[in-house]
């Protein structure tokens, strides 16, 4: 059986204070090999995972934010970021890193993988998934 299922990885927690952000990313990377339809959702404190300028030298932990930028290479094209969660936290799209992918259906043009969407659209994305993994 090789059905393609829609996997949604839900991220609601900030990075570094706990390991969930890092270890959920590890699932996404391994999961890429299974060629399923993958999307990542960032809402509530999860939006903090994507902020620019993370410098972890002082806390002695690995800065894993560059890994998000590599997601395009793993054929992950959808990083949904919730607008209301950003606004509640005083953030805008400008505060987020850039993640791009190459669209094979459009002459390999580089396109942004991060899509800032509304709470209602996020609810739709969740309802659209076959498998929801929450970290």
């Amino acid at each position: 059986m090789s059905d393609v299922k829609k996997f949604l990885y839900v991220n609601r927690r900030a990075p570094y204070g706990t390991i969930y952000a890092l270890e959920s990313l590890e699932v996404v990377l391994i999961g890429a090999a299974f060629e399923q339809d993958v999307a990542l959702a960032f809402l509530d404190d999860g939006v903090f995972q994507l902020t620019k300028g993370q410098n972890t030298d002082g806390i002695g932990m690995k800065n894993f934010s560059p890994t998000f930028r590599a997601l395009g290479d793993y054929d992950v094209q959808k990083l949904f970021v919730e607008r209301e969660s950003l606004e509640e936290r005083g953030l805008s799209e400008d505060d987020l890193i850039e993640v791009v992918y190459e669209d094979e259906d459009d002459d390999w043009e580089e396109k942004p993988a991060i899509r800032v969407i509304s709470r209602a659209e996020m609810a739709d994305a969740m309802a659209d998934a076959d498998v929801v993994l929450s970290f």
Binding site: M1, D3, K5, F7, I19, Y20, E23, E26, V27, I30, G31, A33, F34, Q36, V131, V132, L133, S134, F135
Partner: protein, 130 residues
């Protein structure tokens, strides 16, 4: 139905592991199949064979090992999460040059791919965490 379960927290500290156990036993009693339970993050600690809880408390690891044996549930411990937290089976211990191993019977160490595969092959996936 085939139901897959993800356990994301360790034993005793969070109720998640107990909730998962009660859920899995109820699912099996209702006639569903639970082919696999995947242990991730601190959930890997459930697999420790060195746990000695007080006599009058439930023995979480033993309960899971017995469940695996009785109902053929595949208990998978994520290798990356396990390595970080010092959970090694005999093979891993040898590979890593460690002088001890601590994975209980009924649990096996494997990769994250087993979690994705569980998502693909089951009808429902339930996460117990914190």
């Amino acid at each position: 139905m085939k139901i897959g379960v993800l356990v994301s927290e360790g034993p005793y500290t969070h109720q998640a592991v107990d909730s998962a156990y009660k859920f899995v036993t109820a699912a099996i009693a209702a006639g569903h199949e639970v082919p696999r339970v995947f242990f991730y993050h601190d959930g890997v600690n459930v697999a420790s064979r060195l746990s000695v809880p007080p006599q009058d408390e439930r023995h979480i690891q033993q309960n899971w090992s017995a469940l695996a044996k009785e109902h053929n549930v595949d208990l998978v411990v994520c290798i990356a999460a396990a390595q970080r937290r010092g959970m090694l089976d005999a093979n891993e211990a040898e590979r890593q040059g460690k002088d001890a191993n601590n994975i209980a019977e009924g649990f096996r160490i494997s990769g994250l791919g087993q979690l994705i595969e569980m998502g693909i092959q089951t009808d429902r996936l339930v996460t117990f965490g914190d």
